[in-house]
């Protein structure tokens, strides 16, 4: 019997061929990500556990993003604790204002195809886009990894998702993952891996794959996985020879196979306040909105800002609508400035903010007020996420978000 992608990665890690789904194994961790919100708790637990050194400081990446720039007086404490911890235990990979953790981990080259990576954030599934087995853990578990370099995992079963064909012009990878979450439900992939394949996937940019992998956790998934190819090798700056063979075998044991024809997909949105409340945009047209947010680790990359700039070129954001654009990293910001994207968005009336999590985690950059409605390109629309519980959050692709900002109400992208 063949192996799924995740089974292959774990077998490689343990230098065996005996590991199968549902086995409980202890893996050797290739890299970890810790961000600003949780570093005080990680540091505390690490020392409480009695560890005196980190297993391999070079494998640790500390990223400040949720609190950059600060919005409350108590925020700086997180940086102080992080900086002290890094200095004490020899962590050199520290990013203080370079952007969102899940953007930097792949963009800055910390994750390679075949790696096993854990992070103190649920959207750590994002790195499955470059063929890594990556998942979120709590700060206590992260402290244990720092001391031991290992973690127990129950090898997940895999749901295979096949998407074939050519996407319509106004449909983005965000619409694919939203549709999948709507079909599976918020716990439909609980404890499982989602393996993505098919011709549409093979033709997708790494950035688009990141959008899908990022949101896998919203269906309850432990991991998302894409087969690394030449595009991945180029993105990760590795030679194709160094990319491990981890494509899922035809005769592997998948617990479910789901197939989509790309031509059948349409722009969709996740309605308040659950990520699986999916409706086609055509059913929501004309809904008035107060704010649009384009950014986050889900959709804050160059291709996302580029499509927004294309839609808004030489036009103006609707009166009374606040359009907030937050690039996912300093690198994206620089490229967007170079390509005229920032200028085009600014001319159209967008408010551009510094790369970071911003509004997505409800800390800064456009907190909403009682009864307001926002269309956002991030990954969660839970109650109270971006302001008081009465705020309604609709999730969408950047194309739908930009079209909505233009119209002043929910609108279909015309591309």
């Amino acid at each position: 019997m063949g192996y799924t992608s995740i089974e292959k990665i774990i077998n490689n890690n343990l230098k065996t061929d005996l590991v199968r789904a549902n086995d409980i194994v202890t893996v050797n961790v290739d890299r970890v990500m810790i961000h600003d919100i949780f570093i005080p708790f990680v540091a505390d637990k690490f020392e409480e556990m009695g560890f005196t050194k980190i297993w391999d400081p070079d494998k640790v990446v500390l990223i400040y993003d949720h609190l950059v720039p600060t919005s409350r007086v108590e925020d700086v404490r997180h940086f102080q604790i992080g900086d002290t911890f890094a200095a004490k235990y020899g962590i050199k990979n520290v990013h203080r204002s370079d952007g969102i953790c899940h953007q930097l981990m792949t963009e800055a080259g910390y994750v390679k195809p075949g790696d096993i990576v854990f992070g103190t954030d649920s959207h750590t599934t994002t790195y499955g886009s470059v063929g890594a087995f990556s998942s979120g853990v709590g700060y206590t578990e992260m402290a244990a990894i720092l001391g031991t370099g290992q973690l127990w995992v129950k090898v997940p079963e895999t749901i295979k998702v096949i998407i074939d064909g050519k996407l319509p012009e106004n449909v983005m990878s965000k619409d694919i993952i939203l549709r999948l979450i709507g079909d599976l439900g918020t716990d439909g992939a609980n404890y499982k891996a989602l393996e993505f394949t098919g011709s549409t996937v093979a033709n997708m940019s790494t950035a688009s794959c990141m959008t899908i992998a990022n949101m896998a956790v919203e269906a309850g998934a432990k991991a998302a996985i894409f087969t690394p190819d030449e595009k991945t090798a180029f993105y990760c700056s590795v030679s194709l020879n160094d990319v491990p063979e981890i494509s899922g075998d035809e005769d592997a044991d998948y617990i479910e196979e789901i197939h989509y024809w790309a031509e059948d997909l349409v722009p969709v949105m996740a309605c308040p306040s659950s990520v699986d409340k999916i409706k086609p945009v055509t059913e929501l047209l004309g809904t008035p909105i107060d704010q649009v947010f384009i950014g986050s680790c889900t959709n804050g990359r160059l291709e996302d800002l580029e499509i927004a700039a294309r839609i808004l070129a030489d036009k103006k954001v609707a009166d009374y609508v606040k359009l907030i654009v937050t690039p996912a990293s300093r690198e994206v910001y620089k490229q967007a400035a170079k390509n005229g994207i920032i200028e085009a968005l600014t001319k159209a009336g967008a408010i551009i903010t510094h790369p970071g999590c911003g509004l997505c985690c409800g800390r800064s950059g456009g907190i909403l007020s009682e009864g307001e409605r926002v269309v956002a390109t991030n990954n969660r629309n839970f109650l109270g996420r971006m302001g008081p519980p009465s705020v309604e959050i609709y999730l969408s692709s950047p194309a739908v978000a930009a079209s909505t900002a233009l119209a002043g109400h929910i609108a279909l992208p015309e591309l």
Binding site: I37, D75, T140
Partner: protein, 162 residues
């Protein structure tokens, strides 16, 4: 081992942003945060929970963000266990690591009424209004972490500190 307590009933998909909203995550300690537990959904709940109470919930309890403060706060409120139809993955691991007992049962949450009492015989059955609901025991490696008192205690032992 048996535990008994008054129950609080919550619905499906109770996410960790509800259990503890992001705006409180920069407070210094769990003690400071716990009064805001469940506030977007039930602002009065945190103040009403008494030691030994039990939370009963629907499917996918603890979904969303990995914030470990969520199970830590529930434990600090001295809730003795959470009974739900299913638990989200990261919350499940975090709860075990903090010694918070989680019990999966598909039927109980549909019949439970807030304010009533439940008795749990861990790993065997839960008894509510005279009816017994069968429970499956946790996997051995997880029971060991709970029995050790959580992951910190287990690691301290490993490092020769207990």
């Amino acid at each position: 081992m048996k535990i008994e307590g008054r129950i609080w009933v919550l619905g499906d998909d109770i996410d960790t942003d509800i259990i503890i909203p992001t705006e409180y995550l920069a407070l210094k300690s769990i003690e400071d945060m716990k009064k805001f537990a469940f506030s977007p959904l039930r602002p009065e709940l945190a103040g009403s929970i008494r030691p030994g109470d039990i939370i009963v919930a629907g499917k996918n309890f603890g979904c969303g963000s990995s914030r470990e403060q969520a199970p830590e706060i529930i434990k600090s409120l001295q809730v003795s266990c959470v009974i739900a139809k299913s638990f989200a993955r990261i919350f499940y691991r975090n709860a075990i690591n903090n010694g918070l007992l989680l019990i999966e049962n598909a039927q109980l949450p549909d019949v439970a009424t807030e304010g009533e009492n439940i008795t749990v015989s861990i790993g065997e059955f839960a008894e509510y209004q005279g009816v017994r609901y069968e429970l499956s025991p946790l996997p051995r490696n997880l029971m060991e972490i709970i029995e050790a008192g959580g992951l910190v205690a287990a690691m301290r032992k490993r490092n020769g500190l207990e």
